[in-house]
């Protein structure tokens, strides 16, 4: 037996697996295993319960502060009174009207900003000279509160929605441009080289290589752009109350009536819209992009991938 096993195995007794069988075996062994995703409800609950607990904690602290009368009741109403104000603004439609007016303005302004921001961002990404010229100015604009533009916008456009859009644009465009630029900067050079080898030139290079490769960074810029758009709009609405409508005006009404519960309700609604847009629009978008590129840790790679 021993002599048989040490003899060179060349005979028909040992058959070499075929190339395709070997390849199939390797593919099967080395294919990363994808973990099953938990069900939708489980996912929602997992992310919701800590947030809900925190909200409950905040209301409890508020209630205690109210009972200790840290401020007189007209300045610090109880959570229950504020809830009543909230219900009445919802019932008489003021909440809905203000919210829909503001969201419509923000959405239109934001979409305009995306168009303008993508155009400027693509131009700067494509031309190093343009970028050296305008890049620092755009970064500077990003740190300039866009409320500073409100007087100028009022002088140019009067008390119209155009003023709102101008302020939103000036707030959101720099973030979107910088997001796009950050996204293109992070594109691995090898991707660009492959595009060159495949014959992508000019517009096809931008359309099929640069923009999709820059998408994750660009989404970050969009998200920040939205946040800036929303803030700018609230500031503009608060300052130019005469234009009317919107959550900013609701807030101002609360202030002029010294109705603290209306002020709190307005702040709450502004906050709610910000969170809702994040949860409904940006989080799913970001998750979809990262998932499709295998960047979320949903897969555990068993093989090497040097």
């Amino acid at each position: 037996m021993a002599t048989e096993t040490t003899a060179p195995v060349t005979g028909p007794a040992h058959e070499r697996p075929s190339d395709s069988a070997l390849a199939a075996g390797l593919d099967a062994l080395e294919t990363p295993i994808t973990n099953p995703r938990p069900s939708f409800l489980v996912q929602v609950w997992r992310s919701a319960w800590p947030v809900l607990s925190a909200l409950v904690a905040i209301v409890v602290v508020w209630q205690i502060a109210y009972m200790l009368e840290l401020k007189p009741p007209y300045a610090l109403p109880s959570p229950a009174d504020t809830w009543q104000t909230f219900l009445s603004t919802v019932e008489d439609g003021t909440a809905w009207l203000a919210m829909s007016t503001s969201v419509r303005r923000a959405a239109v302004g934001f979409l305009l900003s995306v168009v303008v921001g993508v155009a400027i961002g693509t131009a700067l990404a494509a031309s190093p000279l343009l970028r050296r010229a305008f890049g620092p100015i755009i970064t500077g604009l990003q740190s300039l509160p866009s409320v500073a533009w409100v007087p100028a916008a009022v002088i140019w456009f009067g008390l119209t929605d155009a003023t709102m859009y101008a302020v939103v644009l000036l707030g959101a465009v720099p973030s979107i441009v910088n997001g796009l630029l950050a996204g293109t900067d992070q594109v691995p050079p090898l991707f660009l080289r492959v595009g060159q080898v495949l014959g992508a030139r000019g517009w096809t290079r931008i359309r099929y290589v640069l923009l999709p490769a820059a998408l994750p960074g660009f989404l970050g810029g969009l998200k920040q752009g939205w946040a800036f758009a929303w803030r700018s709009l609230m500031a503009a609405e608060l300052i130019t109350v005469a234009i009317g409508g919107g959550l900013g005006q609701l807030l101002d009404t609360g202030r002029s009536l010294s109705d603290m519960s209306l002020v709190i309700v307005s702040i709450f609604l502004i906050f709610l819209v910000g969170i809702a847009i994040e949860l409904i629009v940006f989080s799913p978008l970001e998750r979809a992009v990262l998932n499709s590129r295998g960047l979320t840790g949903q897969t555990s790679n068993t093989g090497r991938r040097k």
Binding site: A23, L26, D27, L29, P32, L198, Y208, P212, R293, R305
Partner: protein, 264 residues
């Protein structure tokens, strides 16, 4: 078993001059300005249509620079680079597949950029993927594939380009030995099925002898053609075959001499 040709080219170059896949004539290339030391110097190299040539050299021999020149990504400082049969395809050590596209869509993108009409792309991509034995992989995302599978998708994408010349820059260097063996077999089969000329850069002597019809040894700093071997061992070869090993040992000696010259 083997014949050694000292001049660039080897038997066959004396034929019709038009019938070459690629021809480099006295090519010199520098990194940056011409005042800097050359990366490649006086390179003469002719590749016949359908020929499989392996370029072998240590670090600093300018192998990747040479491929960039042939691919038309860079222009040489002096000398001429001629390529016939369309834009050459170039494969890298990394698969460099686009992670925002499925495996099939990666191949289809190459077809689209080459101008293949939309209706034909899907079927053609399927055909190329089954050529690299990845029939069911078209809808898979890049991160769902193993390293070897990714490199095969990259091969399918390279084959989707119209060029008659396939340039490969150490494409299997990051893979483990068994996967590399399998891919050697796949590449040999695909090469003989498609009839493309291949220029395969590697620092692995056995790999060069296993795959090539001709092995060209380059010196380092600057890269020059030192010597070349015509390999007549019939395919299918295996990397562990005795005659592959014997020739590898011989070539390795020369490679070592080349490297040792730089120690002084």
């Amino acid at each position: 078993m083997t014949t050694t040709a000292t001049a660039a080219g080897g038997p066959g170059t004396l034929g019709a001059p038009a019938a070459v896949a690629a021809r480099l004539t006295d090519v010199t290339q520098h990194f940056g300005e011409a005042s800097r030391p050359p990366v490649l110097e006086h390179i003469d190299l002719t590749v016949q249509p359908g020929e499989f040539v392996c370029l072998l050299g240590a670090s600093g021999c300018g192998k990747s620079t040479l491929l960039s020149l042939i691919a038309g990504l860079d222009q040489p400082v002096s000398g001429q680079v001629e390529v016939t049969g369309g834009r050459p395809a170039l494969m890298f050590q990394e698969p460099a597949l686009y992670p925002w596209l499925s495996a099939g869509a990666n191949v289809e993108l190459a077809l689209r950029l080459r101008g293949v009409p939309r209706k034909e792309r899907k079927a053609e991509a399927q055909r190329l993927l089954s050529l690299v034995r990845l029939d069911g992989a078209a809808p898979k995302r890049v991160h769902e594939l193993s390293g070897g599978m990714r490199q095969r998708v990259a091969l399918a994408r390279a084959l989707a380009q119209e060029g008659d010349l396939l340039l490969m820059d150490e494409p299997f260097a990051a893979l483990d030995a068994i996967t590399r063996d399998v891919l050697h077999e796949e590449l040999t089969r695909i090469w003989s099925e498609t009839g493309r000329a291949v220029i395969f850069v590697t620092h692995n002597v056995r790999e060069a002898v296993r795959l090539g019809q001709r092995v060209v040894l380059l010196s380092s700093r600057p890269g020059r053609v030192v010597r070349e071997w015509r390999i007549d061992i019939p395919q299918p070869r295996r990397i562990e075959d005795a005659d592959v090993s014997a020739l590898s040992a011989e070539i390795t000696e020369h490679l070592r001499e080349e490297i040792a010259r730089h120690g002084h």
